[in-house]
């Protein structure tokens, strides 16, 4: 098996690779932002003292934690159009339907995990910390900013970064519904050219480098902000 770098750099292939990478990154970024927003909403909802709401959020979280991400994507892509009103369906179909549904599914999936990570961070800060902060004269905001958040984030951020890594890798599952992201593109180029080795190496390196950046970010955070000693 000879490896031809020139194949990857050729004018036929390179733009295709870049397009795949760009879609992967875009899918990741959109899903991350939407997922984080939903997660914050979920955390807020859990604070509301209504039993049925608490229960609903729990079901939402458990569904997304216990069903494979690719199945969640399929439910959205194949299933949702059946129950959406016709007008909305038409409106959606004018855009990039696959991308949109994949993004929603990935975002909701990530949000369930994000929410749990945020909550576990908040839980580790004992209530007495707030009392202590207020008793030395800090305002509610000051207490949150200087005392509660720094402690909670130390606990929450590492699993959140790890989750971001998983979300990044999970964007590859969007190929199942035909989103032309990096994995789909890899397979497409391979089918066209039969140069498996070159395309696979390129795709693997792309994922690996991006993942290592995220892992390094996690390692840096752990070193810069080690978790407070366990008390």
């Amino acid at each position: 098996m000879d490896f031809q770098l020139s194949f990857l750099l050729s004018a036929d292939v390179l733009p295709l690779l870049f397009k795949g990478m760009a879609t992967t990154v875009r899918l990741f970024a959109c899903a991350w932002v939407l997922g984080m927003l939903v997660a914050l909403l979920l955390v807020g909802l859990r604070a509301v003292p209504w039993r049925w709401l608490d229960w609903l959020v729990a079901v939402f979280v458990e569904y997304h934690r216990n069903v494979p991400t690719v199945v969640q994507i399929m439910v959205w892509y194949f299933g949702m159009p059946e129950i959406l009103p016709r007008d909305i369906k038409l409106w959606i179909n004018r855009g990039d339907t696959e991308f949109l549904f994949a993004m929603i599914a990935l975002a909701l999936n990530a949000s369930a995990f994000f929410a749990e990570d945020i909550r576990s961070g908040m839980r580790t800060v004992p209530h007495t910390q707030l009392e202590a902060a207020r008793s030395i004269g800090l305002s509610a905001f000051g207490a949150l900013w200087h005392v509660i958040l720094p402690q909670a984030l130390r606990i929450s951020v590492p699993p959140l970064i790890n989750r971001a890594l998983i979300l990044f890798k999970d964007t590859s599952l969007a190929m199942a519904i035909g989103v032309v992201e990096m994995t789909y593109q890899t397979k497409a180029i391979e089918n066209l050219t039969f140069r498996s080795m070159e395309v696979f190496v390129a795709a693997t390196l792309f994922y690996l480098v991006a993942s290592l950046v995220l892992m390094a970010l996690g390692a840096w955070f752990n070193q810069r902000f080690p978790p407070a000693h366990k008390g």
Partner: protein
Amino acid sequence: MLDILHEYGLMFLVGTWPVGPLGGFANTLVLAGLGLGLGLSFPLAMLLALARTGSIRWLKMLATVWVYTFRGIPLVMVVFWAYFLLPVMIDTTVPAFATALAAIVVYESAFLAEIVRAGLDGLPKGQMEAARSIGLSYAQAMKSVILPQALLNIIPSLVSQFVSTIKATSIVYIIGVQEITFSAQQINSIEMTRALSVFLVLAAFYFVACLELSQFARWLEARIRARQLRPA
């Protein structure tokens, strides 16, 4: 949803078996079970973890590269590689199931290795020191003192990883492995107009199995923790 389950329940469960090969959820469980344990991924993970916690530099490096690589790429890519490389390496055609299994074994070994390593690192340093002090060799200390404790402590994480593996197998239908997601795709192509029900039934299978296992893991975790906190 119930009518779909009623009509295609067997296909979800076992695929076309006994007429065809075993498929459906049964095959999902077989694939995940073989992929994670039963002499395949776990021994590999143990070796990787021992190499990473050990003191032999080049072994440590090799194991670290292995772990970071497979943690850093999507399973789909590993499946592609297996699909492409395996036939070249052993010079025959490889069945889809074996291809998927190989991909899952190497992929999961990286995650398992991290779990085992956490178990080893989680023990107090004094355990190894005490074991060496009474004259045990490194291997004896590992076997009699360190591993029995570490492996007990990581059982809940192993169950959680089994859940992850079950979920991960849902992607191997792309190379034609007849597990439950494959069944759902087939049923969907027969039914055409009831996709939501079909895929919700599919989701329900995973949901029930994984939720039960996750709760089992939590229960184990609580039990093992309670054991450790027993009054001294």
